[in-house]
Amino acid sequence: MPARRYTAIDFAILAVVAVVVGLIFFFIEIPYEVTKAAAGKMVARIVFYGLWFIGGPLAGSLIRKPGAAFLGEFLGALVEGILPTIYASSVLVYGAAQGIMSEIAYAILGYRKWGIGAGVLAGALPALVVPFLDYLLWGATITDVMLWVYMLGAMISGAIYGAIAALIGNTLRR
């Protein structure tokens, strides 16, 4: 069974992940909105959306302890929320939900696999909760079919960026 107790080093690594993903979350907000306004939501989803799922696989593959994927995503969202962003506490709701899904991905693998495959799963699974949260907020401007199509776009993007995050995490652990 992997070690469960978090040390100050783990929390310090979480801080680094939180800053990196928090800044990514913060800085892609405007390009995402511009792309969405100019080229449509689907293009914006595939190009950018997976970056919002990167905290889970990055923290998971770096720390390799239960809870790391959730904390990586959630703390990243908290950092983004503290920086001036128009969605402030709604990003916490999304961050918590996406973090739980990333954590589920590692839990399914028994907290024993941390490779690129696990990263793909941890990056893709958060896309499953996005349509439900999106429906609550944007439901009126979108059809149910398109919600699922967008989910697919987010899942593809999440899988790509999840693989990148796991690749970075595994490279740095060596």
């Binding site: 703390l75 950092v79 709701v93 790509i160």
Partner: protein
Amino acid sequence: MPRVSPATWFIYSLIMTALAFTIRSEIALILPAIPNFILGLILSLRKKYYLFPIAFLLAVWALFLNAVLFVNYGEPVVVVGPLVIRSNALWATLIVTVRIMTITGAAMIFVSMINPRELIISLERQLGLPKGLAFALSLALRLIPLMTYDYHEILFIRRQRGYRTKLIIPTDVIGVLLPLVAVGIDRAYWIGIAAELRGFQLRKRRFNPKYTLWDLLVIAAAIAQTIVSLAIVFLH
């Protein structure tokens, strides 16, 4: 301005967001949306957060485009050449805008009224945030300027080597993220070791909630808005 704890503004912002997510009647949401948005806009412009109104307008424009693409049915309202904008597209944009106004309004109030460092102390003292998470968040705030500096150095080196500095394709993201996280992790190891040597595990949790009258008034305002919105939902 009377002193309200940052944790209270955090709770206020969360309550408003919860309202935006859960209240299905748009009429019930107009009540918290308009005052929160106007107050938030005034406070954020005083703090020179000009990005807020720009991002809000972009979000509304994107919503409108989405509505015209996917839910454009009903009576024609505006005809611009071959483009016919119908009543449902406008109505859908309007009702989602009300939701965004509620969230954005609370967000603008929240970021205008708090100092990030005070917020973390307040979350630990008032809401009992675990010491490890408080440590990670405090450290994250201190790391932001350092990592921003690292990021610009990486971009400078990429430019000198003839690589792209705009992150367009996934390999660009790897090329910037890998050195950035590598430097950060190296720093984190030593900070973590130093914290352990200074007795991090022995540090006690600082949970000591104290709320002033102003804190209670802000919470009461959030609860009052919730009750009125729910009342409108049930009356409808």
